[in-house]
Amino acid sequence: MSASAPTLAAATPRAPRRSTFRQWTEREGVFSWLMVIPPLLFLIALVGYPFVYGIWLSLQDRPVARAGTFVGLANFVADWKDPVFWQVTQNTFVYTIAATLLKMVGGLALALVMNQEFKFKNTIRALMLLPFIVPTVLSTIAWMWILDPAFSIINWLLRYFAIANPGPSWLGNPDLAMLSLIIVNTWRGLPFYAITLLAGLQTISPDLYEAATIDGASAWHRFRWVTLPLLRPVIFIVTMFSVIFTFADFQLVYVLTRGGPANATHLYATYAFDVAMGGGQLGMGASIALAMLPPLALIIFAMSLYMKPNKT
């Protein structure tokens, strides 16, 4: 080092005091921390602090625009005794589990179909992703019209083929409303599964299939014993993401049903929104939002037990 800079080395054989700060910031640990501190402070201020503040809110009786009073766990006790809260819990589980299964099975099927050679593959893949990239609220508006009580295209088809007249009220009947939400959620989320699983499929070496075929494995056996085990890590990660964001879904329900009819489609997020923003009860709302954490943790824990890619 000193040999390459003879003049400098002659004048200052040891590091001069003047440049110590410079040397200090050049140290790997110092440089790294100086880099990460600003974004970390940002995240602490706008994620960490609101999270803690949300817990504090949930322990208060806090009407909007007025000072709160500390009530301990009273809000959570009230949630526990609230039949709507339990309805919401059940709705959220039904919605999450049904939509996730549909997306997983449908996404895997679509990925397998697309894992063949065909013309316009890239164009078709790009088109298939559209539901995922178009702003959800805007595409849900189209679904709202598809499911409209009077002018539903589905009901028109049902009438046309004389299956039903006048056809069901898709968003007016509690069970059908939930079914509709699950379908729309599947429509939006399926491309994410399909494209990610397709990318996973493409990393599987063709040699493995060849070897399995030579050993006499049928198409089903190749899928069951080659494809699935190798795809498991990808399926796990995709499903985990999808479960978290489906469990905490807000937009679809807000646009299509607002939680109705008679709370049949309220999820934690929309119910918390109604209580906090509609009813002005910030404390109660915060407690409902926080109540989604334990069941969500439970689902993720159960999933990692069943699906975790293990070495065996």
Binding site: S32, V36, P38, Q116, L129, A142, F151, A248
Partner: protein
Amino acid sequence: MIVQRRGWTTRSLKLWLPLGGFMLFTLFPFYWMAITSLKPNSELYNRKIMPLIVYHPTLKHYVDLLTETNFLLWTWNTFLVAVVSTAISLVFGVMLAYPLARMRFAGAALISFAVAATYLVPQPLLFIPLADIINQLGLGDTLTSVILTYPTLLVPFCAWLLMGYFRSVPHELEDAARIDGATRLQTMFKVFLPLCIPGFISAGIFAFTLAQNEFLYALIFLTQTDVRTVPVGAISELVKGDVFYWGQLMAAALLGSVPVAIIYSFFVEHYVAGLTAGAVKQ
């Protein structure tokens, strides 16, 4: 001949039939959106006629949308917010990802974990306390409120995606720059980051579409028509009580989707790379 025909039938059954089914399911809502926006009200609300095609297409709903509502202003707001919050997120994302991917320092594992955890925090968990904080700061009904909060969703994502990309870049060039006497900052800006343009495009496109898509914070923080974004404006102002302006709603849905779709179409490969990076890369 027979072999050929058999091949064609199996191929139809194994490829084109299921693919066609999926495409119909995927694309029908967009078709429906487009033709509904072109129908005059007399066709829209007539249950007698076949609804799958337009008989007398009209641009009336588009004209009304652009002249009678603040749609253009909402579009500008959405675009501005998406661009600024994407830029902030990329800068912060690099500041997190570069040290985490390329350096060894005490606390790195903890920070990685914290960033991943932040990414997984669902938005509905934070909107009530954030609404209160935004009010106390006097930021309600300003674009600043969403420009500040969107990066909380985008930074962890950008950092995570960029970390993956940064790890795939070989060390030689940086080592050479360091040996030649470049400081760490110079090495990062002049040598390393220019190598990572594709990573920035992936992260940027993804963050941009997420920002365009955001609804919950915009719905709560932005209640005045002149600061609204397209999704909030459409759902709040084109539905008046029980009256749905279906033609205008569909025109808004279509026009609101077009900017995202165009940008996406230019960078599909980058988008797909970003989408699959986390799950597939080992």
